[in-house]
């Protein structure tokens, strides 16, 4: 007996009432199952087969949850823009069955079926896409969503990168889970090589003290434990906010006290709206900041907000903004500089944080 029996009773009561209202329709119900589209049937069957084969693999995700996915992942649903970008960067765009309203990169991601917003997706819509694998990110999605999906028996793999290196590792792991391990290793190696090159170029450049603005009103910046703070370090900068809180809310007074060398904002929409130096010059409070007076305000692509392969693009972009001199050198005498750098690179011991993961 137990809950199954009660379940039946509950269903029976509802059914009785339903039947009372639509007795005619009930009789038409039988063939409806058969009318289920072939594609859906096939997916269902393949899903069942994978379960029985034990061909699936079990991995532990970055939140410590055990996830079992079929050996051959065919349908992926991503719940965060960074995972969507990662999937495309791995060349798995074909396997992406759906993503969220917030997934806008690459443009093809916008054409995929959406399951709702990243914070409040529809569980039914996700279920309706018949995914073998759902990808989520701790810093973006809600725990409740992940728990609910797991409760429904859907494989959810969650990433939780807090550093640039962690992001690369997360990409490699996602690639592994999605059955594209080799492509993942290649991708991560390429990204790491770009980071190494950047490291070499910036070797002589002084650290720039940066105020990174996540949100302007209310003013929200980044804590030291976020991957954005780490991205700034790779780009030759340092966040002026020293806190363990991930997304600290600041007063303008604090910014005045800290007097950052540079103010960075992220987002394509800001670029489109023309937010930037001139705009900040007319804002009361802001306009008297030294950084604003010197025109040290820049809007960069929103890739920096996302722990995906685009993060490396954003790091390079920030490096160009913060250290234009380092890159001027390169364009004049690139070859020599790089070789110099490589030699330099070999002799200077890399800090733990900077040691590449894909070697």
């Amino acid at each position: 007996m137990g809950s199954a029996g009660r379940q039946r009773i509950f269903a029976a009561i509802l059914l009785g009432a339903l039947a009372f209202c639509g007795a005619k329709r009930a009789s038409a119900g039988q063939p409806e199952f058969a009318r289920m589209s072939d594609a859906r049937q096939a997916t269902r069957l393949s899903g069942q087969a994978a379960g029985k084969d034990a061909a699936g693999k079990t991995v532990i995700d970055e939140t410590g949850r055990r996830v079992t996915v079929p050996a051959d992942v065919k349908r992926i649903v991503t719940l965060s823009p960074d995972q969507t970008e990662t999937i495309y960067a791995l060349g798995l765009g074909e396997q992406l069955a759906g993503d969220t309203d917030d997934c806008d990169m690459p443009p093809a991601a916008k054409e995929k079926p959406h399951v709702g917003g990243e914070i409040n997706p529809s569980l039914e819509a996700i279920l309706g896409l018949h995914p073998d694998l759902v990808l989520a990110t701790v810093s973006i999605n809600r725990r409740e969503t992940v728990d609910a999906l797991r409760h429904l028996g859907i494989a959810v793999y969650t990433s939780d990168p807090h550093t640039v290196r962690g992001t690369l590792e997360a990409i490699a792991r996602v690639a592994e889970v999605a059955g594209a391990g080799t492509r993942g290793t290649d991708l991560v190696a390429r990204l790491q090589a770009r980071l190494d090159a950047l490291h070499v170029m910036l070797a002589d450049s002084p650290l720039v003290h940066v105020l990174f603005v996540v949100q302007e009103d209310p003013l929200i910046s980044i804590g030291q434990n976020t991957f954005i703070a780490d991205a700034l370090r790779w780009a030759g900068g340092e966040s002026v906010i020293l806190t363990d809180q991930n997304w600290p809310r600041l007063g303008l007074e604090e910014v005045v006290r800290l007097q950052p060398d540079y103010i960075l904002l992220a987002g394509a929409h800001l670029k489109a709206e023309g937010v930037g130096e001139t705009d900040f010059r007319s804002r009361s409070g802001w306009k008297d900041l030294r950084a604003v007076e010197r025109g040290h305000v820049a809007v960069i692509s929103e890739g920096v907000d996302r722990p995906s392969p685009a993060l490396i693009d954003a790091i390079e972009e920030i490096a160009h903004v913060l250290h234009p001199e380092a890159f001027k050198d390169k364009s004049e005498n690139g070859k020599v500089k790089t070789e110099n750098g490589l030699r330099l690179h070999a002799t200077v011991p890399m800090p733990e944080e900077l040691s590449p993961c894909a070697r």
């Binding site: 009660r6 379940q7 009930a26 409806e32 709702g116 279920l127």
Partner: protein, 343 residues
């Protein structure tokens, strides 16, 4: 007004149940996953006769895993909040009284937030913490609301409002110092959210225990219905007629608070329902508590199930918090009823 006979109570409740049933059918039918009505009937039928394996697994998940639990939760929460609101309004003889105003919802929310901050990984802790938060708030407000050994309606209401804003301030403080992820989850929860399925494998046992708590508390309030009718005419008069006013107040206050803690612990802080539904029912069916309590329960269930169905369909596939929907859809209906009555 016609005299209130048991027959009339049953007739009106039956009518409301029919409406509730209609709303349940709509709620079962609507959703991001397309299932036709015959398929729903077949799924229910096969589930009822225990032939689960003949149902396509996704139909089973959508109907039994997502929609039915959500409907059941909506019924429970709506009924609990409405009965609690009815109780508080009778108790305080103040039309503004509801779990939200009295600080009980805020207390429960604070309990939940504290548990999320310090023990986010433990199952079911949120429910327990919300319940403790509600109970503690009740105790404090009840203590503050006494004047000269008597429960004073105005003082109690004031104490509730002060407690509510004090607790909200603490909640804001905690939310500002929490990390981003928790903040977003909690923001949803504070608006009221039915989206997450019950956090346990034993869904039906879980629902059963919730419904039993609901029935006991609502039943306790119902036993005082006749006394509440007398108190409505004035406490002194009720005393003269032999009503133990303090005992009635205690029963109603505790039971209504238990109902609030129950609702908040499973769905977050859904506002408006406890205020709106009892008034609407009063306007429709009169002020007799013997009729008002059951109609409020069913009416609350109707409102929440309907609001939740709208919440998950109007901007589908994205879902709105149900609390936003109750306020958005409820306020105009309420104003209409109020205006009609004035005329």
């Amino acid at each position: 007004m016609r005299p209130l006979t048991p027959r009339r109570i049953i007739a009106i409740c039956g009518l409301l149940c029919a409406v509730l049933f209609g709303v349940i059918v709509i709620a079962l039918r609507m959703g991001a996953y397309p299932i036709s009505l015959p398929d729903i009937v077949m799924t229910l039928f096969r589930g009822a006769i225990g032939r689960k394996d003949e149902i396509p697994s996704e139909f089973w998940l959508v109907i039994f895993g997502l929609r039915l639990p959500r409907i059941a939760l909506g019924i429970l929460v709506g009924a609990a909040l409405s009965v609690a609101g009815t109780g508080f309004q009778a108790l305080l003889r103040n039309p503004l009284a509801d779990p939200y105003v009295l600080g009980v919802s805020s207390g429960a929310a604070l309990g939940a937030i504290i548990s999320l901050t310090f023990a986010p990984h433990l199952l079911g802790v949120i429910q327990l913490a919300a319940f403790i938060g509600a109970a503690a708030t009740i105790a404090v407000v009840y203590f503050l609301g006494r004047r000269g050994g008597q429960l004073d309606s105005a003082t109690l209401l004031l104490a509730g409002i002060v407690a509510a804003s004090f607790l909200s301030a603490i909640i804001m403080f905690l939310l500002t110092t929490l990390s981003g992820r928790d903040l977003r989850g909690m923001a949803f929860w504070l608006m009221g959210d039915l989206a997450a399925p019950p956090p346990t494998e034993h869904v039906f046992i879980w629902f059963e225990s919730l419904f039993i708590v609901f029935l006991i508390s609502a039943g306790a309030i119902y036993t005082t219905a006749s006394d509440l009718n007398l108190i409505l005419t004035g406490e002194q008069e009720a005393r003269h007629l032999g009503v133990n006013v303090n005992r009635v107040k205690l029963v109603v206050y505790v039971a209504a608070s238990v109902l609030t803690g129950l609702a908040v612990s499973v769905s977050g802080a859904i506002g408006y329902v406890g205020l709106l539904v009892p008034h609407a029912m009063r306007m429709l069916f009169g002020t007799d508590y013997r009729l008002l309590i059951p109609t409020s329960a069913i009416g609350g269930a109707i409102v929440i199930v309907l609001a939740d169905t709208l919440a998950r369909t109007v901007v589908a596939p994205t879902e709105l918090p149900v609390g936003a929907m109750t306020a958005l859809a409820g306020a105009p209906v309420f104003i209409y009823l109020m205006r009609r009555r004035v005329r």
